[in-house]
């Protein structure tokens, strides 16, 4: 295991980071919309969103990436790999994050919304000022847990041609026949990405909990 191999793995790490960022960003924004739609008073919207969540939680991410990349190409919509994974990760992550946040929104005590309504606060203010800050705090452990899963899940992007960290590891391992060393390093790199996220999560939890004590 020399410098070139290590650099190759770092290249893979870079892709893993980029894919994670796409998943966080796309999944976060779409997930918020999903959570709001799922908790909407409009029954049709809420039910439609429930079906969306069920579909994307109930099928493998691998299959979803397949469909967005190869499947859509068959019906004439040729996406480049970036577009395909961006859409695939966004759809998948928004279903999971949306459901986590839906639960957190519902966990905010009813009286909070009633008090906000009684003060004549409109929907936007009720959500932005009252419900979402409290829901965010409630959702932190599950959200951080899911984001860690998402980082590791980016390895599936290798099926549409990305040489991200896990794939890079497999390639190097096949070249130098030292799987233990190579995957040890790959594992350490994943850990270096995920562990700080968990730390930030617990730090945020403590910070946000402080005023209510």
């Amino acid at each position: 295991m020399g410098i070139p191999e290590l650099l190759f793995l770092l290249q893979g790490l870079k892709w893993t980071l980029a894919l994670s960022a796409i998943g966080f960003l796309g999944g976060g924004i779409a997930g918020l919309l999903v959570a709001l739609a799922r908790t909407s008073e409009r029954t049709a919207l809420a039910r439609g969103t429930a079906a969306y969540i069920a579909l994307f939680q109930g099928t493998p991410l691998l299959m979803q990436l397949f469909v967005t990349y190869y499947g859509l190409a068959l019906v004439g919509l040729q996406l480049d790999p970036w577009q395909a994974v961006a859409i695939g990760f966004t759809l998948n992550a928004s279903a999971f994050l949306g459901d986590i946040w839906r639960g957190s929104i519902e966990a905010v005590p009813r009286g909070q919304v009633e008090a906000a309504r009684a003060l004549s606060l409109g929907y936007a203010s009720r959500m932005v000022d009252i419900v979402l800050p409290q829901a965010f705090r409630i959702s932190l452990p599950a959200t951080v847990g899911y984001l860690v899963q998402l980082i590791k899940g980016t390895s599936l992007a290798s099926i549409v041609g990305f040489t991200e960290l896990a794939r890079a590891g497999a390639i190097v391992s096949n070249q130098i026949f030292k799987p233990l060393v190579v995957f040890g390093i790959v594992g350490a790199m994943y850990f270096a990405l995920c562990f700080p996220l968990s730390l930030v999560g617990s730090w945020l939890e403590r910070r946000l909990a402080a005023p209510t004590r």
Partner: protein
Amino acid sequence: MSASLSPPDPGDALISMTGVDKWYGSFHALKSVDLQVRRGEKIVLCGPSGSGKSTLIRCINRLETVQQGRIVVDGIALDDSAQAVDAVRREVGMVFQSFNLFPHKTVLENCILAPMRVRKASRAEAEATARTYLDRVRIGEQAGKYPAQLSGGQQQRVAIARALCMEPKVMLFDEPTSALDPEMVKEVLDTMIGLARDGMTMVCVTHEMGFARQVADRVIFMAEGEILEEATPDAFFRTPRHPRARAFLGEILAHH
């Protein structure tokens, strides 16, 4: 509160409910309720639990919808239009049994949010108003604290100040002292008595009969979704007419 300082004008109904019916599924929660509240009037609603008194006042600011009947608040007919609901809520303050302060906001932030968002007040204006009302409920020095750092009685006084910051024309109280430790009931009742003295129109669901005696213009007794008796506090406590009211008073007064 300048608007509410004028004495009650008998012909001037601030709240008018006529023929209001509400069902929860097959449960008939309100049975053709009629209620008129004049400007400046103080009403105490009492009755056994499950009698519909909380439901009734929650209909006034549309926290509950009704299936039948007409509710007009300050000249605005409550219908399904969001504008009417918002307009009514702007003029109606509410205090809840469980305070419902926003736990992630300081006392001051709790008080300035609605004036800034709904009345479009500047932060400076909203803070000035908030400090006035916080001082009035004698909690001004706690403005920077979070609700969880206050006692129940203090939290409920903040909730009253928060509602007053919208300068409402009427205040609804939904069992405001029921969740409080006994030693904190008085500070909240005193705040409410002060508010009554200043001429606020008030509709209070409460079992505090001393409070009813002291400030109510009318006591309304409800049971099983119906208004069974309406009387001055004096008449109600001395000679309740309805047998249910007599039984209720017997139970309540036996504990005091």
